[in-house]
Amino acid sequence: MKEWYDKIEKADSVDALEEIRIAVFGKKGVLAAQFAKMKDVPNEQKGAFAKELNAHKQNLMNEFTAKKIVLQTQALQEAMKAEAIDVSMYSAKSTAGALHPVMETMDRIVEYFSSMNFSVKTGQIVEDDFHNFEALNLPKYHPARDMQDTFYFKDEMLLRTHTSPVQIRTMLESKPPIRMIAPGAVFRRDYDLTHTPMFHQIEGLLVDEEGKVSFANLKFILEDFLKYMFGDVDVRFRPSFFPFTEPSAEVDISCVFCKGEGCRVCSHTGWLEVLGCGIVDPNVFEAVKYKNVSGYAFGLGVERFAMLIHQIGDLRSLFEGDIKLLEQFQ
């Protein structure tokens, strides 16, 4: 029997081991032959003979099973080795597309204000003088109209110069309290390094009972919003002038590039202007026939936000479908 232990030990493949198994355990195998001898063994020795033989059977089976596992594992390893690839050749470049940084920024802004319980209103691009100017305390002779070079149509309609007309339309269509934002494209006749004839704005409006809405409320939400958009920045309010708000302010954040130290982007002031806001001018409420109300309004340019957040240098590249730029936002 001893030799079979050696043979199992020395088997070098699953197939060879299988041959040994048949030779040992098969019907015509060694063990069967040994058990056949049983009948010739004297009765008093039969017990010992059988015991020894069974012990061999068990031991050989154990050896065999153990060896089989070893050989199978080896065989699998070799098979897998044959399938080896150089994974470093398979580094991949995404083939997904990407969202436009301006639209993506707009989404983030809308997300913030809807979570603060502002409704979203969209309005129309082709507007009339009343909704775009008159109702916003910008009569025809008002010098502030100079600030907004307008695209006109032959029938005296115009392309909205801001999304404020959406606020007027909303106020005319519904009753206070109002809590809304108006995201969308706006148009001014200006085309150079820092201006495009179309850009995107988001404006917000809150209207409630007289005496309820204060400048302090406006300050609160804008400070919170700017920290949500830009992270840990300082926020500064500067008094300013807009025909549709009074008091009005421009809002600066500490420069996100130089952390307020002063750099080229912030013209060495340490501050970046990002928002305009104010308490709604009573003339605006008068235009929509609201009485005994108070409110605040604010507005911002989405391109400016996107350029600051993503450090995009060239405004015009945003409107060219330039994959060089877009693929960076995959």
């Binding site: 809807s114 010098p143 309609m157 005496g211 008091p247 479908g321």
Partner: protein
């Protein structure tokens, strides 16, 4: 609006306050600082006096001067045309380093030694005055020969440029800006010193003003015999600093005074108003045909339109002549409205009058007279002639509670009173609870209580108001517009995930190009009046041309694979706005890689359609001819979903591909409103196995698959879940026919279909096809 520190100092004492603090204060009170510039003359540049000046023996254009520089008399060679003995000048002495980097050393110029340099304004870092070397006079303040120029405040000024908002006409002057600073720093503003000598010959002897009716303007005139006017250095320098240049010395001087005081000034040649036999110049105030208030001559010739322009013929042309000086005021709302209704040519003064010029005419006029007298040998006539219109005083009432409510903080009553007083508002009639505010005439922008609150807010400082959250009642504000927005966002995300880059284009396009491709553009009578460029002269009726342009640029930039989409507004000829979702794919399907052996397959019709379906859901295509000519005649389809038309999908016409420098390119434009945005419902799914069977049909090459599809669908075959073409085969043996393999998916809700059931179904299909279309198995 540009101010300088030394100029401001003439109206308010700013000692002890740094320029940085002044700039910071400007920002916090709403006068946004654009730019701060410090003029600093380097060391070893001193005041000097030219004692002698002679021609250089060997050079025509050079002079050899003896210059007193305090510590010594130096010989300096000077090339300026205006150098002469007796002049006080700025001298860079040996050892000085000029702003340009030039170091002053003793040199020999054409054999003559020169120990220093007599400087022009530009050479010491000041704005160029264009007159050669600086000719100093007492107007720059006291100086001594030999003193360092860097100690002089006027020549070492700090300039601050302010971006004024449209409402602050009152800050269009140094004095106006000083008035705001006076409130911010709580320091008084300096008053005018009005001097009028009664002993002079009265102005009435040579000048009269008549009017037929009282017009809403204020006018004030003085007259003087102008003689030997020479512009003081401070005037030339400051005008150069504020980047203003006027035609004549007298015009320069008037503009200087206007910039300083805010009062609109004009000067007329007195003779313009006199006829031969008259000794008194007669000015006539009247309206012109368009209703503008004008000054006329007795012969009805216009001398000026008040606040708007002046007839060139009436302007002062000589240095030695009798002139009338006019200070005028017209309310900005009146003149702006007039101009908006009936536009006429306007000069530089209109900017001021339309935003609100200074109404205090007397101060500005006498300031001007004093300045002219100080720099000429002129004599002024005593007194002045006026036209005074009584403007209604504006009174605004506001309670402390209202102020606190708008601001959202408690502002102390004494603080409010002090701020208003320093800004020139009269609050003396106020009661315990109500501020009664008399608004000074120069504050055109203040009309209601919000305006008063704004004044308080900017002086208190917004940063000093504590933020407070708004308390709101719960309300559901999610409505249609919001869901539209979400829908747009959903499809944008799906498109990006399917490999398309989002692009955004202007809603403008070029009419000529659009028409060339057969698009209907905005009707002529509704067209843009003032397009910014010819290539953006109409509203776009499609997003496709924008995508083609972008693809073209990307291919030029070396991209072999271009996939773009845009969801944006388009316009009908009647300018009705709607949203489209458009897609473009061109070139290769994927990146070059091991997987494709560096040769990725090109995008084809099937691939593009698959990508569109990935974004918008299952789609069916129908043969279709597009209205425009961008499409390939034989590869263009209508896109349907559940029987509803979504839009069109096509390969780009080869000619158009060539025009844009593109390879095989596909476009799809869908009506965004037709895309679904709704909750899905699940149907019960069969528990039994599905079976697949293929049929290879022999059919004419030109038979549309749509026909086969319609026949099978119309037969309403039970248990047929789906069917779709999987192989197309042609060869010579088939001639005009082709073989099309269609895969059928069969499944029952009740049992696993047996062979017999399946055979029955397939037979039924074949039977229908044979009956309806005369086609059968290959």
């Amino acid at each position: 609006m540009i101010v300088t520190r030394s100029w401001l100092d003439e109206w308010i004492d700013l000692s002890g306050i740094s320029t940085e603090d002044i700039a910071k204060t400007f920002n916090s009170i709403g006068l946004e600082v654009d730019r701060v510039h410090e003029y600093r003359v380097p060391q070893k540049i001193v005041f000097g006096r030219v004692l002698e000046c002679e021609k250089h023996p060997d050079a025509d254009k050079l002079n050899v001067c003896k210059v007193d520089v305090g510590s010594a008399i130096r010989q300096i060679v000077c090339g300026a045309a205006n150098v002469r003995a007796g002049l006080d000048v700025v001298v860079a002495t040996v050892g000085a380093v000029m702003p340009s980097g030039l170091a002053i050393k003793p040199v020999k110029l054409r054999g003559v030694e020169s120990d220093g340099m007599i400087c022009s304004a530009g050479e010491i870092g000041l704005p160029d005055l264009g007159k050669g070397i600086m000719e100093l006079d007492a107007s720059i303040g006291k100086y001594e020969i030999g003193q360092e120029v860097s100690e002089n405040a006027v020549l070492n000024d700090d300039l601050i440029e302010i971006e004024l908002t449209a409402n602050r006409g009152d800050c269009l002057s140094i004095r106006g800006v000083a008035r705001d600073l006076s409130a911010a720093f709580d320091r008084p503003i300096k008053e005018y010193v009005v001097t009028d000598n009664d002993e002079k010959r009265g102005v009435g002897r040579i000048l009269s003003l008549t009017h037929e009716k009282s017009l809403g303007v204020n006018l004030r005139y003085k007259a003087l015999d102008l003689k030997e006017l020479s512009l003081p250095m401070v005037v030339s320098l400051r005008l150069a600093q504020i980047e203003e240049k006027r035609e004549s010395d007298i015009e320069s001087l008037l503009y200087y005074v206007t910039h300083s005081t805010g009062v609109v000034l004009r000067a007329y040649e007195r003779d313009f108003f006199t006829s031969k036999d008259e000794s008194v110049a007669k000015l006539v105030l009247n309206e012109d045909a368009k209703g503008y208030a004008c000054i006329f001559t007795p012969k009805k010739e216009v001398a000026s339109v008040i606040g708007v322009n002046q007839n060139d013929a009436s302007k002062v042309k000589h240095d030695n002549t009798t002139i009338c000086l006019e200070a005028s005021y017209i309310p900005p709302d009146i003149i702006s409205k007039k101009m908006a209704d009936n536009k006429i040519d306007a000069d530089v003064m209109f900017y001021r009058t339309s935003r609100g010029s200074e109404p205090e005419l007397e101060g500005g006029l006498s300031y001007c007279i004093d300045l002219i007298e100080s720099c000429s040998s002129s004599t002024t006539y005593g007194g002045s002639i006026e036209h005074v219109y009584e403007f209604k005083e504006k009174i605004v009432k506001v309670t402390k509670q209202e102020i606190d409510e708008i601001i959202g903080a408690n502002i102390d009553k004494s603080v409010v009173t002090k701020i208003l007083k320093n800004l020139g508002f009269d609050t003396s009639k106020s009661s315990t609870d109500v501020f009664v505010v008399h608004v000074p005439q120069f504050r055109h922008d203040i009309v209601n209580k919000q305006d008063i609150v704004e004044e308080i807010v900017r002086m208190v400082g917004i940063d000093n108001i504590p933020s407070k959250p708004f308390v709101l009642e719960e309300a559901n504000r999610l409505e249609d517009n919001y869901f539209e927005y979400k829908k747009r966002s959903l499809y944008r995300h799906k498109a990006a995930q399917s490999g398309f880059f989002e692009s955004v284009h202007f809603v403008f396009d070029e009419k000529k190009v659009l028409q060339k491709y057969g698009f209907e553009t905005t009707k002529e009578e509704l067209e843009l009046l003032n397009p910014i460029v010819q290539t953006l002269d109409t509203l776009r009726p499609t997003l496709l041309t924008g995508l083609l342009k972008a693809a073209s640029m990307n291919v030029k930039n070396g991209y072999a694979r271009v996939a773009l989409f845009e969801i944006g507004s388009v316009f009908t000829p009647l300018r009705d706005e709607s949203l489209k979702a458009s897609f473009l794919m061109s070139g290769e399907r994927e990146n070059e890689s091991l997987a494709n052996g560096g040769r990725p397959a090109a995008v084809d019709f099937a691939y593009f359609t698959q990508k569109i379906a990935d974004v918008v859901g299952d789609v069916e295509l129908k043969e279709f001819q597009t209205q425009h000519t961008l499409s390939h005649t034989y590869q263009s389809a209508q896109v349907l979903q559940n029987g509803e038309v979504l839009g069109e999908l096509f390969r780009v016409h080869p000619e158009v591909e060539k025009e844009y420098g593109l390879g095989t390119t596909f476009l799809c434009e869908l009506d965004f409103s037709k895309l679904k945005h709704e909750l899905k419902t699940a149907k019960p799914a069969s528990k039994y196995q599905a079976s697949f069977r293929d049929l290879s049909l022999l059919m004419p090459k030109d038979m549309a698959y749509e026909k086969i599809k319609n026949v099978i669908e119309a037969s309403e075959i039970p248990n047929l879940i789906r069917f779709y073409p999987v192989d197309k085969y042609t060869d010579e043996a088939l001639g005009e026919n082709m073989s099309l393999s269609i895969r059928f998916v069969l499944q029952s809700d009740e049992k696993t279909l047996e062979e017999e059931d399946i055979t029955n179904v397939m037979d039924k299909i074949l039977e229908e096809l044979n009956k309806e279309l005369g086609i059968g198995l290959r």
